[in-house]
Symmetry: C2
Subunit: 141 residues, 2 copies
DNA sequence: TATAAACCTGACCAAAATAGTCAAGTATCA
DNA sequence: TGATACTTGACTATTTTGGTCAGGTTTATA
């Protein structure tokens, strides 16, 4: 059970960006250098973040990205969702109420995996980008 | 972020086995049929479970596997550990207190991933095989 | 004591997911 | 008009996953 680097990078990049929020657009190049993430890869990630209206782009020289909403309103859930980082504990379709893997009964542990998913998603629902920036500032004091 | 089927299968198989605990050894063939998991794959999984002393094998005809400890004492953590299903949220080495990815400072989100890992492991630490069997019996009433 | 059931082991392999790179743009500011 | 920075889509190498396969060994029981 591991987190993919796409999800991790997305959060890292957004925390980096959020620290300059309201001051000026932050270029991917800067984020790339500071966070050690390839520029090309960041572009892929930010394309998704923009489509989900988490960030806004500013083109041209001195351009970059800015947050599209208040950092308090951006939860980890939103970020992971944008970059297709999904919490997946079962193979079987979520919506098929009855039956797992073509069987007539739910698999013995189906409930367990549902619980696990909920447990993890709770964590993601609670944490906002703002929380992360603040925690970070505190650590530096 | 997904659970691998090795981990999922291990838990499914052990719940199946635990239901017959104390009665007689359960053959992998039976588990394979009931749970729809390939016999060869189950053998791989049980080899690991045996090495970690979660199950005991009984060879020969009428043989199979039995739990090696009380179902209450077997936590999900132990099972996942045995089959190398690890919760991994960071790439950087856990033990390097200072520095992430060769940098002099911790990455901005290092704390976050540690928290997430703890959050998930809490879930695994609490659930025992016995809990799962009981939940399953209740559901069938 | 033969034989079949069941465990045991290690090698092997295909498909999917991951983690990017690369190329060729377009927009905008100075 | 050039440099900076966003935009897009195709491509690809590597790793992980999810197994299969072949060849054992052990032991109950008929």
């Amino acid at each position: 059970m591991r987190l993919t680097s796409k999800g991790r990078y997305a959060v890292m990049a957004l925390v980096d960006l959020a620290r300059f929020d309201g001051i000026n657009p932050v270029s991917l190049r800067d984020i790339s250098l500071r966070q050690g993430i390839s520029l090309d890869y960041l572009e892929q990630i930010f394309s998704k973040l923009r489509k989900k209206e988490i960030v806004q782009s500013v083109r041209g020289t001195q351009g970059g990205y800015i947050l599209n909403r208040n950092a308090k309103e951006i939860k980890l859930t939103n970020i992971f969702d944008a970059v297709d980082e999904k919490v997946k504990t079962v193979q079987c379709k979520k919506d098929s109420k009855k039956g797992c893997n073509g069987k007539s009964t739910k698999c013995l542990t189906h409930n367990l995996w549902d619980e696990l998913e909920t447990h993890i998603n709770n964590f993601f629902d609670k944490k906002s980008l703002d929380d992360l920036v603040k925690e970070n500032l505190e650590r530096r004091l």
